[in-house]
């Protein structure tokens, strides 16, 4: 190609000869250029998002989308910003689902099965259909972590659900009406707060900061000229890439 495009916002540059394919937005047919994501294709069709659009990068959970291909019974699930359109897709977006988030104060809880079952009794109604897992756009083993939660294995549930973006597709599909992603959120917070050991060095640094240990050093830095700062900057000792057991020679400002 003769011209090089360095910058064009985030508009997709369509390669020459891009084919237009039929896509049904909430049942309404549009001819849209293939290779676009569902999100950009819907915008290309002329829609402007108020809901169902967020980070545009697959991490915020605003744009969960359900689709079928015309003529096929099977439902598919994905994020509009991450899924490329296909011919004869029939799309519906589900930007909100009314899943119940239990009332609790984290500091009053314990990391046990009893806590989870008391706050989310519906997890015991899981019928094991695995529809939640199949609906997850992040490929999380949703039913697996609900099973962990049921047994009080808070740690496994926390780790298994870590990639959750809380889009709510699992809960939208669940015949037992479980609020999976809220259960997972609780498990992760319980795990991090009560099961993983607290960082002792963080706690002691927080005390040092609060006792004012660094106030005078920082105060002095704020008063330095750029030249004085440059000297200190260039003289910094760099912690190596592999720094197990490394200690700086100059410890006066630690």
């Amino acid at each position: 190609m003769s011209t090089q495009t360095i910058a064009s916002g985030d508009r997709t540059i369509l390669p020459e000869g891009t084919r237009m394919i039929p896509v049904y937005v909430m049942g309404k047919k549009y001819m849209l250029p293939e290779t676009l994501t569902i999100q950009k294709a819907i915008e290309y069709a002329g829609y402007q998002y108020i809901r169902a659009c967020g980070c545009r990068g697959g991490i915020c959970g605003a744009c969960p989308t359900v689709w079928r291909t015309m003529g096929d019974y099977q439902l598919h699930f994905g994020l509009a910003c991450q899924t490329v359109i296909e011919e004869n897709m029939v799309l519906a977006q589900l930007p909100f689902f009314p899943a119940n988030r239990a009332e609790y104060k984290l500091e009053e809880l314990t990391a046990t099965a009893e806590t989870l079952v008391a706050l989310y009794p519906e997890i015991l109604k899981c019928v094991g259909c695995n529809t939640c897992t199949r609906a997850c756009p992040m490929d999380i083993d949703v039913m697996g972590y609900i099973n962990n939660a049921m047994r009080g294995d808070v740690g496994r549930a926390a780790k298994k659900s870590f990639d959750c973006i809380q889009c709510g597709m699992c809960s939208a599909r669940c015949p037992a009406q479980i609020a999976h992603y809220h259960v997972a959120q609780l498990c992760r917070r319980l795990y991090a707060k009560y099961i993983v050991p607290a960082a002792k060095h963080t706690a002691s640094r927080v005390s040092e900061v609060e006792e004012g240990k660094y106030d005078s050093a920082l105060e002095a830095l704020t008063k330095m000229s750029a030249e004085e700062l440059k000297e200190l900057y260039v003289a910094r000792e760099a912690e190596p890439f592999d720094s197990e057991g490394w200690e700086p020679e100059d410890k006066a400002n630690l």
Binding site: T5, G9, I50, A192, P240
Partner: protein, 464 residues
């Protein structure tokens, strides 16, 4: 799906030099970092902030005469959405609270939580969902000097050096002083930091750091922060009311010139309403989605400079708004991912940045502006960029080095979101490098504040 045959052919050149580069890293040898003079040279010739093109002087307000990107100036100088007299405030539906927080990201939600902890009633209003913000998009980590070999003193030096010694000193001091406290606060709220078995925080180098202080939660650090802040705010429903899909239009002031609330607009019912408050916190994020100079952008849909405009019209001023951060590693391929952030953690884990010949041309952990300018220079002036099928330029980020340096399984463990995002398009980043080009990331300046986040307009604060 995946790389084209032409690109696969070029990747062979990267593979040809990889083993040797890995061995060099293992020996602790790196591409020579630039001196301060070399940094200045590459920045002044290649960084978009230093170019005259696309920049104009503001014609109105407290910063009249200052030169900013033309996209920002167009917003600042635009006519108001609604003229005084077109709405009668006392006839509109009115809500009230002690504090109005505008913006539902990490900054706004933290402000709401801290106000609630101090017994105040808060309304948090956001034009999207609560949590729809750039916070969720932060991947690599959050910095705070909480290790024994580190201290706020070194964090201060790294920070002000990265800012070429031009930052506002009191703000750098506040940031580096409070950072370990914030890390401790997030830990207590139940954030799943990456930790060693004994609870020690795992930390890595970031661009331009002399000590490892980048704390992470996989490559979803910001998402994890936002999840716990939002969940915690839901435990304070008696104190924090969240109003979604409602944008603030103008800051309202009382007869004494004190910020006293905002005129709001419900995006769904298309109705105006009023929120009265004793103080207003603007936490609306940046201006990335203005796509300054046509650059691709890592930002959230909502990052459209709303807060800047409102605060300026209310009488606040700007600082450093001329400065925009281009993150060196935005995706340049596949086309569906263009502009998306590829976390600094990839370079923190040891991946080199390479040109079309598979050669290094820059140390991979320069400060972001220097790294970006060096990549732009290599791809444009030196003509060593890789061209994508649609004509974009890029350099390689050699992610397959990561598992050679840190062992099998590292990529999926440390970079799960990135791994998945590329696998969707048939690119296995454990085996193939990523194509990258600088992308719009931060609005470096913004509403001018002091170390208490005061804007100068009584009762108006800015954060985030």
């Amino acid at each position: 799906m995946g790389y084209t045959p032409e690109m696969k052919e070029l990747i062979k050149r990267v593979e040809a030099t990889r083993q040797e580069r890995v061995e060099r890293t293992q020996r602790g040898e790196y591409f020579t970092p630039m001196t301060l003079d070399e940094r200045h040279d590459v920045l002044s010739k290649f960084h978009p902030d230093y170019m005259e093109k696309g920049r104009v002087a503001v014609r109105v307000g407290a910063n009249k005469g200052d030169v900013y990107p033309e996209e920002v100036v167009a917003c600042i100088e635009s006519y108001p959405r609604i003229m005084p007299g077109q709405v009668k405030l006392d006839e509109l539906e009115t809500k009230s609270a002690d504090i109005l927080v505008i913006g539902g990201g990490g900054g706004g939600t933290s402000a709401a939580l801290m106000a609630a902890e101090n017994g105040l009633n808060v309304i948090l209003a956001t034009k999207l969902r609560h949590g729809d913000a750039n916070t969720v998009m932060a991947e690599g980590g959050i910095q705070g000097a909480d290790h024994e070999v580190d201290s706020p003193y070194y964090h201060y030096l790294d920070c002000i050096g990265g800012g070429h010694f031009t930052n506002t000193p009191e703000l750098v001091a506040a940031l580096t002083h409070d950072a370990p406290v914030v890390i401790g606060w997030l830990e207590k709220l139940g954030m799943m930091f990456d930790k060693k078995e004994d609870g020690r925080m795992m930390v890595r180098h970031g661009g331009g750091t002399c000590r490892k202080r980048m704390h992470s939660a996989g490559d979803m650090t910001g998402s994890e922060i936002m999840r716990i802040l939002r969940d915690e705010s839901r435990s304070h429903k008696d104190k924090i009311e969240v109003i979604e899909f409602s944008a603030a239009v103008e800051i309202l002031k009382d007869a004494n010139g004190r910020a006293s609330g905002a005129l709001m607009y419900n995006l769904e019912t298309e109705e105006y309403f009023v929120i009265k408050a004793k103080a207003v916190v603007i936490a609306t994020g940046g201006n990335g989605r203005l796509h300054i100079q046509g650059f691709a952008c890592t930002n959230h849909y909502g990052a459209t400079a709303d807060g800047l405009v409102m605060a300026y019209r209310a009488g606040a001023s700007f600082a450093f708004l001329h400065s925009t951060q281009y993150h060196p590693t935005g995706a340049a391929f596949p086309e569906q991912n263009v502009g998306l952030l590829i976390t600094e953690k990839v370079r923190g884990l040891g991946a080199n940045v390479l040109n079309i010949h598979g050669e290094q041309f820059v140390f991979e952990r320069e400060p972001r502006d220097v790294e970006s300018a060096a990549i732009i220079r290599e791809c444009t002036e030196r003509g060593n960029g890789i061209t994508t099928p649609v004509g974009r330029l890029g350099a390689w980020l050699d992610s397959p080095m990561i598992e050679m340096l840190e062992g099998p399984g590292t990529v999926e463990r440390e970079l799960p979101a990135k791994f998945m995002q590329f696998m969707r398009y048939g690119i296995d980043i454990r085996k193939e490098p990523m194509l990258i080009y600088p992308t719009l990331h931060y609005q470096n300046g913004g509403i001018k504040i002091n170390d208490r986040t005061e804007t100068g307009v009584p009762g108006l604060f800015a954060a985030g």
